[in-house]
Amino acid sequence: MIDMNRNGEVWVFAEQEAGQLSDVPLELLSKGRELADTLNVPLAAVILGNNIAKLSEKLIQHGADCVYLADSPVLEHYQPASYATLICDLITEYKPQICLFGATAIGRDLAPTVASSMKCGLTADCTDLQIGNHTDPLTKKVTENLLQQIRPAFGGNIIATIVNPERWPQMATVREGVMRMSVADPSRKGDVVAVTVNIDPTTLPTQVLESKRRPKKVNLKGARIIVAGGAGVGSRDNFRLIWDLANILGGAVGGSRAAVDLGYVDHDHQVGQTGTTVRPALYICAGISGAVQHRAGMQESAKILAINIDKDAPIFGVAHYGVVGDLNEVIPKLIKTIRSGASLEEAVTGTAQND
């Protein structure tokens, strides 16, 4: 662990794969910018990899004042032994006060390893981060300007705010899509600090033999309309209804964690705290009761239409439009109405239609 360092920077781990930055580090930089400005300290990005120097500029354009760049063939593939060791050395040297990681496959491997080695705290899958004070419930001692790490807990029935008052750096992971990405500013200037990498590859305990990645099957973040189903849909076959409604609206298909766990729809489609966070123009959810983890991933949608048989389902608490009824009846009616509406429009504009 490091001592509390009020002048310490805010750090974002900038994950890259094969020389490409994903959205998460850029989203974290825009949140990090906010935190750093509140604390009046610089924001830095830490990037490790091979042949990645060109990415520094993008990180600066997205808000970093400084980039710590570790560029070496030995860092071509991620593994905790090399990445965590380097990051711990950097933390010990520069004493940042906050370190943020994406809650990705790599981030969820790396961040706990770093936290364990630094003997500091780590909060997983935060849905919000703020700067605020903490009063110790026993001693009443107040510690100012801590990173408040906010996440749903215990099956989503509570929202917990976690702080690390003493053992720093304050560390948290955040899922993709949770923070809004800011627009790149090409006029921004920043420093690049080259990090010396002294790792003998033969001493590393893991060799990567093969690595295959496929693009996501669905682009939920970019969808204007999302139709999502939950456990209430009842079966994978019946999920056809969700697909049909999405198709006719030109939207993407989403699912609650329960629907994914039950095998109704693949994990790529999961909306919520442990899936993707979305903000479409219209979010239609059917058979989703609305656990807080799910709501955390969709409640900022511009319009929410909830269809649920239970009038007391929590999902109605965030909905703009609601239909209390059986989705097996409501969705076919929606499809029918949309279809007839489309034909009507075509008829008015004089287009031939015979469907």
Binding site: G155, N157, L209, R213, K303, Y321, V323, K333, I338
Partner: protein, 302 residues
């Protein structure tokens, strides 16, 4: 020449069963209202360890830190084929975050000695997925997360990792710690013969409790010697669950429980939804027509 495995398991509240009844009026969670279950991915971890023993020999020890009632998952693991079961229970473990938990587990793993440690990727009550990686760091074992398939090759292991949007094949040196994902395997059910035997397995704490119930009027010395005799008899049949406290582990108390946990709860808010503040449409043809009309009207669709 087999591999000795330790499987870290956790008894968790079945968070899928959370309903309104599980919340108390003050907004806190009524844990007693939730069934306690074997954390699902820990069953996959156990299955992987049993497969390793089937192929190469060696032993499988299940380890848990928790309340005395966590013996339920240890018994379940014994009925499915684990060789030994260890319960770490101590009031001073209470309020441990993932860092303190991984420290306490590391003390127990060191005492047991293992070539490989299998953990479930994450537990359903917290979903943090942090204890596995932190335990590997504390032990200095090679960390291999998201294991889907594996094959030992002498003192190395070849692992296929499920990284969500694809996979990776790695070769890692032992000793290693794996976190196992649900897609790795299908956990075997309890074996009938083993189930008949191991459902009788007990921890010393449970033996004490039974003796106190059965001999309510006996003095403490009688109870103590009766409990000791019963424990001895259970041990002979391989039915005594090993039970350790933090003293047995020679754990440094500054790294355990509240003092060992850097994360502190600043605030807990229960989820109270205002509700009712939406525009309702009846599930009739007319209602749905009206709904679609409004969505088209404000350019949300169309």
């Amino acid at each position: 020449m087999g591999y000795n495995s330790i499987v870290c398991v956790k008894q968790v509240p079945d968070t899928k069963q959370i309903t309104g009844q599980a919340m108390k009026s003050d907004g806190t969670v009524n844990r007693a209202a939730l069934p306690a279950i074997f954390n699902p991915e820990d069953l996959n971890a156990l299955e992987s360890a049993l497969e390793a023993r089937d192929r190469h020999g060696g032993t499988v020890t299940v380890l848990t830190m928790g309340l005395p009632s966590a013996c339920d998952v240890l018994r379940d693991a014994l009925c499915r084929g684990a060789d030994h079961a260890v319960l770490v229970t101590d009031r001073r473990c209470a309020a441990s975050d993932t860092l303190a938990t991984s420290y306490i587990l590391s003390c127990a793993v060191r005492k047991l000695n293992a070539d490989v440690v299998f953990c479930g990727r994450q537990a359903i009550d917290g979903d943090t997925a942090q204890v596995g990686p932190q335990l590997a760091e504390k032990l200095g074992y090679t960390l291999v997360t998201y294991l889907e398939d594996f094959e030992f090759e002498g003192r190395t292991v070849r692992v296929r990792r499920n990284i969500g949007n694809g996979y990776e094949v790695v070769r890692s040196q032992l000793p290693a710690l794996f976190t196992v994902v649900e897609s790795a395997n299908k956990p075997r059910p309890q074996a009938l013969r083993k189930a008949l035997k191991f459902k009788k397995a007990l921890s010393p704490l449970e033996v004490n409790k039974i003796v106190t119930e059965q001999l309510p009027d006996a003095d403490d010395n009688t109870k103590r010697s009766e409990a000791a005799n019963r424990c001895q008899a259970l041990a002979k049949q391989g039915l005594l669950i090993t039970q350790w406290d933090l003293d047995d582990l020679e754990a440094d108390l500054t790294w355990c429980g509240v003092t060992g946990s850097p994360t502190k709860v600043n605030r807990i808010q229960s989820i109270v939804l205002a509700g009712g503040d939406y525009k309702e449409f009846p599930p009739t043809d007319a209602g749905i027509n009206q709904l679609i009309y409004e969505l088209v009207e404000d350019h949300t669709i169309g």
